[in-house]
């Protein structure tokens, strides 16, 4: 069976900022390669990605939306519990009703249909079937379904988000979902010292003879060139969603959101929103490969080349080394980059704009998922 993983590598410079702070207000850090690095935690960047993703993914475009949910569900019930075969349609109808979706009265010999087009992911159908089979043994099926909270099992707003990002908060419906996307903590490619901004604030209504400050304090910040990494397991996503178009749209929206989003911490103080200097996307078929090893020896800027150039060169070296040493040849690669400093990255894939990258990646994902099914 063919596997598809999408590795996303991003180099992004941020000016003085405090994107992600701990309980004392300092920007988060980590030690790597023996020196202190600036760090933005994976959960922080995942959240901003997720919020952005919500606005970017038009749910009306999602794959197979069907009125035949009852039929789908009845099939699933029959496969899982053949002994319920004769009651499957009735159970499915009750379940869909309990979710709060209107089901049209059946015409002659036809299975009931929902009143409007619905997109239910593979996983939701499985959850609902499970609940229906549980409820089948109860005396009062309707009541049992209500108690099983089938409404939550079919949270139609977020089926794609949960397949991709996993559950944020444990609840029974999604306890067994593993996110298809994996996001690493972003770390700076160079050593970082936290700096302090000492500020005084003046009380606007001070009398002339009061010359002191109204309050004083410090804000901690740093500036850094970050290496960000995320990977999407396309097979897992396809298992969760069960629909090629939905998988494709989800991957496209994730790439776009991951690249463009940024945690909003201290944004109004620093106005630090930037876009990446370089985005490298590699599609692989054996395993995802994190290239953070490129920066284990911290990047040092010199008179001739700044951090971005050194980081881009190190990233390219690492990618080519991995290819050479382990025979890990990517299926395909794309590079979106800015400026001369990142020119050497062009070797890793075709040089395209982000929009083209998203489209071409979507095409690849679509074909791979089709071939698999």
């Amino acid at each position: 069976m063919s596997r598809t993983m999408i590795d996303i590598h991003v180099l992004q410079t941020v000016p003085p900022s405090n994107l992600n702070r701990d309980d004392t207000g300092s920007p988060k850090t980590a030690t790597y390669g023996g020196v202190r690095r600036s760090r933005v935690s994976s959960q922080a960047w995942k959240r901003s990605t997720r919020v952005d993703f919500d606005s970017r993914l038009d749910r009306s475009e999602l794959g197979t939306r069907t009125k035949r949910v009852v039929e789908l569900l009845a099939e699933e019930i029959t496969t899982r519990a053949p002994e319920l075969g004769s009651r499957a349609t009735e159970l499915a109808t009750e379940t869909i009703k309990a979710v709060g979706i209107e089901v049209k009265a059946p015409e002659k010999e036809a299975t009931p249909q929902s009143g409007y087009l619905l997109f239910l992911s593979r996983r939701q159908i499985q959850n609902l079937a499970g609940a229906a089979i549980e409820a089948a043994e109860a005396d009062d099926v309707k009541k049992a379904l209500k108690e099983a909270k089938v409404k939550d099992l079919a949270d139609r707003e977020h089926s794609v988000d949960i397949a991709l990002f996993g559950r944020m908060v444990a609840d029974q419906a999604d306890i067994n979902v593993d996110a298809a996307a994996q996001v690493a903590h972003a770390i700076s490619v160079h050593p970082v010292e936290t700096e302090f901004d000492y500020y005084t604030a003046v009380d606007d209504r001070n009398e002339d003879h009061e010359t002191g400050a109204g309050m004083i304090g410090t804000v901690e910040f740093n500036s850094s060139t970050l290496y960000r990494y995320a990977t999407i397991d396309v097979n897992r996503l396809a298992d969760n969603l069960g629909d090629t178009t939905a998988v494709r749209r989800a991957v496209e929206a994730f790439l776009e959101s991951f690249v463009r989003s940024m945690p909003s911490g201290k944004q109004n103080t620093f106005a630090n929103r930037t876009l990446p200097e370089a985005v490298v996307v590699l599609a692989r078929d054996s395993q995802p490969i994190n290239l953070v090893g490129a920066f284990e020896n911290p990047v040092r800027e010199s008179e001739h080349s700044g951090r971005v150039k050194r980081a881009a060169d190190a990233l390219r070296e690492e990618a080519l080394e991995v290819q050479r040493a382990y025979g890990e040849q990517p299926l395909d690669g794309w590079v979106t980059r800015v400026g001369d400093d990142t020119a050497n990255l062009e070797e890793l894939g075709s040089n395209v704009s982000l929009t083209e990258m998203v489209t071409q990646l979507g095409e690849l994902v679509g074909t791979r998922v089709e071939e698999r099914s």
Partner: protein, 241 residues
């Protein structure tokens, strides 16, 4: 006996053994349940699947680069759809998560050849992406180091030092003493009990059994060492003691 060796390295790793609720701790070395879980993921087992023979493998780790402890403070919020269509956010309990940063470990699993070779193959082309104890900790560099015809103790004492080149250079001496943590033999008297054998990873009913561990040290060659190991420093010698 046959062993499979794994190199566990990355900016961050987290190997919890007693984590509960909002305080998520980490051990200083990879746990058996963590590594077996990673191997099971590589093999494509679901959390609810039986682990088969995996928990019976003998397990040991060598701390090739100890790294540092890192505390991560994490907030989380739950979105809630209000009746009027807006979204409101309610805060969830604050949590403290601990990581080991900048560490490198050598993990070794001993068992019969077929099983061990299967693990090596699975780790080279994993069914689920590998991670070092937590989803946000992908490994840096390849994990699989291959299969060897030796026992667990011998493997820990003989496999080359896999710390980063930088720390090997900084060490200078041409041998290095490394700490090991391994499963005790049934006939070994000394040992600590830890609740660290995975029985089931089912999220509704996770279970761990107890294992006895033995701590030790081994002496390994340093490929980047330049200095002979010095004489033991004996401060009392100058007093004629």
């Amino acid at each position: 006996m046959t062993v499979v060796a794994l190199r566990l390295a990355g900016p961050l790793q987290a190997w919890g053994s007693r984590s509960r609720f909002v305080r998520r701790e980490t051990e200083k070395a990879p746990t058996k349940s963590g590594v077996i879980g990673m191997v099971a993921a590589a093999k494509g087992l679901r959390r609810t699947d039986s682990l088969g023979e995996l928990p019976d493998l003998r397990f040991g780790v060598r701390i090739d680069q100890p790294g540092q402890l890192l505390r991560d403070f994490q907030t989380a919020q739950r979105p809630k759809k209000e009746k009027d269509g807006t979204t409101s956010w309610s805060s969830l309990p604050l949590s403290q998560r601990y990581y080991v940063s900048d560490a490198v470990f050598l993990a070794v699993l001993e068992g019969e050849r077929g099983l061990v070779e299967g693990i090596d193959e699975a780790v080279r082309g994993p069914e689920f992406p590998l991670y070092l104890g937590r989803r946000s900790c992908p490994p840096a560099g390849p994990v699989a180091l291959g299969v060897y015809d030796r026992g667990l103790e011998e493997a820990l004492a003989s496999l080359p030092w896999v710390a980063s080149t930088r720390s090997q250079r900084r060490h200078r001496a041409n041998t290095v003493r490394l700490a090991t943590v391994r499963d005790a033999h049934p006939d070994e008297a000394e040992g600590e009990l830890v609740q660290d054998i995975p029985v089931s990873f089912d999220p509704n009913r996770r279970q761990h059994a107890w294992r006895t561990i033995t701590r030790g040290t081994v002496e390994i060659d340093n490929p980047h060492g330049t200095a002979e190991k010095g004489e033991e420093h004996d401060p009392m010698a100058s007093l004629g003691g």
